[in-house]
Symmetry: C2
Subunit: 399 residues, 2 copies
């Protein structure tokens, strides 16, 4: 779409302007904050985008791109460019037009920095080295990767029933190995046991990632744990919030749920065909209106700040791809076990385990290489809990 | 559709006529030949439908149903009934019309007895006690079962990309627990490793069955083995052909492939969500034109007789539901292991096992409770082969 092409050009120009002014919002391209950190050394990174007054002045010194340059690049008339710029303004972009200099995007409000669309996401993923522009051609429903560079493909929509359902459909039909599905809202978002995942427009992260690992069907728990670690770390680094993991798949803060993971897979007799990892995070939610949400909390509830979803989506994806690759190669949780354990909220706590045949309380001691929770029962028997069998809760509440 | 409703009435009447004349083609309603047979006692049943000349005379004594009765039952005019009967004749039905007596279907050719459509399949499944007419209501894509009677739902089409793909879609969307998908042809039929399954119109069986068992993801091999046993037994009983099983999923006759099973599943962290068992059988195929089919063979190639696909579909489904239920309850292959072993062609043979890391030859000794093939290597080491890892072939050919 022409509007998207113009947006891409403006975003690219915004980025070069950001770099020139040395006031880059977020990380510099190519750097990865998680590489610099050891387990336990988590700290807030300067990557939320509350821009101070002095920043704003610096920020608006950036370059313009001339209308003529856009016309020439896209082969369209000035009038068309004008019309598309107006559309982008209607969508919420603050675009400055100067007769002499041309156009530029200015981000001086939180809302503008949290603009979520395909162009913004692609820009973010390109900066992180995860995505290459125009790397896929498609013939009908099938996509063909053009380069040797093994990039992922981003699918974005404003509304979908569920990103996991969408991702499964794309996994069946598209032929793409690594798929990232993002929606601004979900009408039928779901979590474990078919529970509803409340997914209001523009507030949370609704992200599903498809991988095609060559693994056995019993490795599913390990993938879930890799995703939980990726999400918890990215949240900690981006917001400074003390996000922890409730085994196996929830991201929690002080006993409330910040996010969750739902991993699904398709398999046949020869092993896993593909895995879909769904990641839902409560980011800028103000209140939780629907559903049984006494335990829900958002980053905004905790810090009273709003965060860039595209940045967090990109960081989570980046970490998840790295961690899942490591566990696929080793065949178990070993490469990320210590990191996961360092964020595991259950350790040393008494938990209530609900199985089909009944409930029991036990002391949670840690996890093993297969991603099972190791607990010590009251009779001093030590058992490994597999996620499929049980529900784990603290004895005084959700965690 | 009105035409289908009229066909249902005519088929029901054909059935009562068949019963009156005591010349029922196939088994009597409610009986199940597999119950009467012990392992190793397989014999040809009188259920193919080569009708002799003397049979034909008996057969055409059946009752007619009057045009008036059809009009009254369906609330349509005589002209409409006439028009629909003509359509059914165009589709291949031999329908006798008598001004005084009314209409009746006569089956005196092989082609007419192998008519495959929804009404014929439903009639066959009702006789076997597997299906109850009008047991489902649907609201959009969701179906609701009306009765306590846990029947399955049959989906039939003339052409589909793949019955497994269709079955997976229905499993995701329909809400039905037991789904049986049948197509007269497949345009993108597939087997293991994505190999093409040649699926010409009206010749083979292309059947996919969806189940929702409460099992762990590692039980997939056992389901495949249950389906292979069901298919091999039904073929033996229906045709008298010495169909055997090549571990884990092929039905073979004298070193050639009669049929195959492809089991797929969808799972999440809490276990299997559903299983799709695809069953392809070469029934009335004359030649195999496409693909690499040096090892393919059909029942027609072997016996020079043609068989009723609907009857075989119903028998396979009936046995598969029984066997899969037994293995789900026990959690392993134990309930059907001896039956499976009695038809296993690999036993006592030297097989070539192809793994990722290389090939080796070994003596195939049997299967264990998990459905793994037990082989004795040349160094006297005994190992269990899991289906996902390997390809097994005889050292002098396909079996």
């Amino acid at each position: 779409m022409l509007k998207d092409e113009i947006l891409k050009i403006l975003i690219n120009n915004r980025s070069s302007s950001e770099k020139q002014n040395n006031k880059y919002i977020g990380k510099a391209p190519g750097t990865s904050c998680c590489n610099k950190l050891e387990v336990g050394q988590y700290k807030a990174q300067d990557c939320d985008f509350d821009v101070s007054e002095s920043d704003k002045i610096e920020f608006t010194k950036g370059n313009y791109i001339s209308g003529a340059a856009i016309c020439s690049k896209l082969g369209v008339s000035r009038t068309t460019v004008c019309r598309m710029v107006k559309k982008l303004k209607d969508e919420g972009y603050n675009i400055e037009s100067s007769t002499k200099k041309g156009y530029r995007i200015i981000e001086n409000t939180v809302c503008q920095s949290d603009m979520l669309n395909k162009a913004e996401l692609e820009h973010e993923f390109i900066k992180a080295g995860l995505y290459k522009q125009n790397d896929f051609e498609h013939e009908g429903e099938k996509y063909i990767q053009k380069s040797e560079f093994k990039s992922l493909k981003i699918f974005y929509t404003d509304e979908i029933d569920s990103t996991n359902t969408w991702a499964k459909k794309l996994a069946e039909e598209s032929g793409i190995k690594t798929i990232v599905c993002i929606s601004a809202s979900q009408t039928k978002g779901y979590g474990r046991h078919g529970n509803t995942w409340v997914s209001p427009h523009g507030q949370g992260i609704y992200l599903s990632i498809v991988l095609h690992p060559e693994i056995c069907t019993d490795k599913l728990p390990v993938i879930t744990l890799a995703a939980a670690l990726a999400a918890a770390e990215a949240i900690r680094e981006c917001s400074g919030v003390n996000a922890l993991i409730k085994w196996p798949n929830d991201i929690v803060f002080e006993g409330k749920k910040l996010g969750g993971i739902l991993t699904e897979m398709a398999a046949d007799m020869d092993g896993v065909r593909y895995v879909v990892c769904g990641i839902g995070i409560n980011v800028n939610n103000d209140t939780f209106k629907d559903g049984n949400l006494e335990y829900a909390v958002s980053l905004f509830n905790i810090t009273k700040k709003k965060y860039s979803r595209k940045k967090l989506i990109c960081d989570i994806t980046n970490k998840f791809l790295k961690y899942s690759d490591a566990v696929f190669k080793s065949g178990n949780l070993q490469p990320i076990k210590e990191k996961y354990k360092s964020l595991l909220v259950n350790i040393g706590k008494t938990v209530r385990i609900s199985e089909k045949k009944g409930e029991f309380e036990a002391l949670s001691e840690g996890i093993n290489d297969e991603g099972c929770l190791i607990v010590l029962k009251n009779n001093n028997e030590r058992v490994c809990i597999v996620s499929g069998d049980v529900s784990v809760r603290g004895i005084y509440g959700y965690v």
